[in-house]
Structures are given as C-alpha cells and as structure tokens.
C-alpha cells in the first residue's frame, strides 16, 4: 500500500490513451509562471513533485494537472515559511469575498 507511490504508475494496467488536448487557461499558465519564478528563488521542482506524490490517491486522480501543481506550490511555500497557513487563509477569504 505504501511501498509503491500512487504516482509511480509505469507498467500498471490502464485504459486507452485518449489524445485529448486543451488550450491552457490563463490561471494554469500563471501556475507555471509562478513556479518558474519561485524556482529561481530556490523552491525546487523536486519539493513540488514530492508534495504531489503525497496527495491522497483519490485527490491525485481527481485533480487536474494544474490543480495538483498549484496545491503543491502552495504546500512548498508553506513548508519553506515563505507563506503561512494563516496568511493563506486570510487572503483566500478576502479574495473570495471580493468576488
């Protein structure tokens, strides 16, 4: 159950590959951009990958690619003390109320 990471899927049975593509939304591109900018400040892709790997399996499967990456970036920033949970809570609440 724990020896194999949920992300470590090479060789597991799976379905037909659907050749879907989508035009990436601005918010998704901004996740990439912020990840790159913070990468230049030492927040490594390795930390962000580790955070994705630690997502609960159901969350991993149900979240889209950029949903996983924005969450992993947030976790990395909290882990490094760049942001705190409290700051995140306050700002999320403010943004949501602004509409």
């Amino acid at each position: 159950m724990i020896e194999r990471g949920h992300h470590d899927m090479g060789g597991l049975p799976a379905g037909k590959v659907e050749p879907t593509e989508h035009d990436y939304a601005e918010w998704e591109r901004r996740v990439d951009a912020m990840s790159m900018l913070m990468g230049a400040q030492g927040v490594t892709v390795d930390e962000r990958r580790k955070n994705i790997e630690m997502l609960p399996p159901e969350a991993y499967d149900r979240m889209s690619y950029y949903e996983r990456w924005v969450v992993s970036l947030a976790q990395a920033l909290i882990q490094r003390g760049i942001l705190t949970t409290a700051e995140l809570a306050r700002k999320m609440s403010d943004v949501e109320q602004r509409g």
Binding site: R4, D8, G10, G11, T44, D46, E47, K50
Partner: protein, 99 residues
C-alpha cells in the same frame, strides 16, 4: 561545478542491477525497474540528489547519473514486441550495484 566529487563507478556497457529496495521519501527510480539488470548506456553527468532536494536540502555532493538500458522482455513477463525492444531510464549511482 559542485565542490566535492563522488567517484564515477560504472562504465558504458557495464551490467548493473537496480537495488531491490522500497524506501520512503521522494524517489525517482521507478517501482517497475527495481531489482532488474540493465546495461549502462551513458553517463549523463553528476547532479544534486533529487531525493534530498525534495526535502529542502542541497542534495550535494552531486551524484553520478546514468542512462541504463533494459531489455523489455526481461522487465515484463508478458511483453509483446520485438526481442531487441528496450526501455531506457535515468538512474542515480546510489541505486545501482554491479550485476
């Protein structure tokens, strides 16, 4: 580039075995290849250890990274394809043993 140097142990063409170990943390050696024997295809260079970078440590000293080639019909019991088909994977030296 990085100050202290880890000795490069394996040569191109040499047979190596991937450690059959299932540790915790961030691991970039895929589950499906652990315990398998392959051949060194090339030395990619030495890089900071991603297992350590993921934990916000510097991953130094840089570790030798190789591309290792495996015969598909040795990796998968039910492989259907050509007898010379291969899978090639980047593996860090500390995951490899002499075969």
């Amino acid at each position: 580039m990085w100050s202290s140097v880890v000795e490069v142990k394996y040569k191109v063409g040499e047979k190596v075995k991937v450690m059959k170990a299932y540790p915790l943390g961030h691991v970039r050696t895929p589950f499906y290849i652990r315990g398998h024997v392959g051949t060194i295809e090339r030395l990619c260079g030495s890089f900071p250890n991603p297992e350590e970078l993921a934990q916000m440590r510097d991953g130094l000293p840089a570790q030798p990274l190789y591309r290792v080639r495996f015969l598909q019909n040795e990796v998968w019991p039910d492989y259907r394809g050509g007898p010379a088909d291969v899978v090639e994977i980047e593996i860090f030296q500390h995951w490899l043993e002499k075969a």
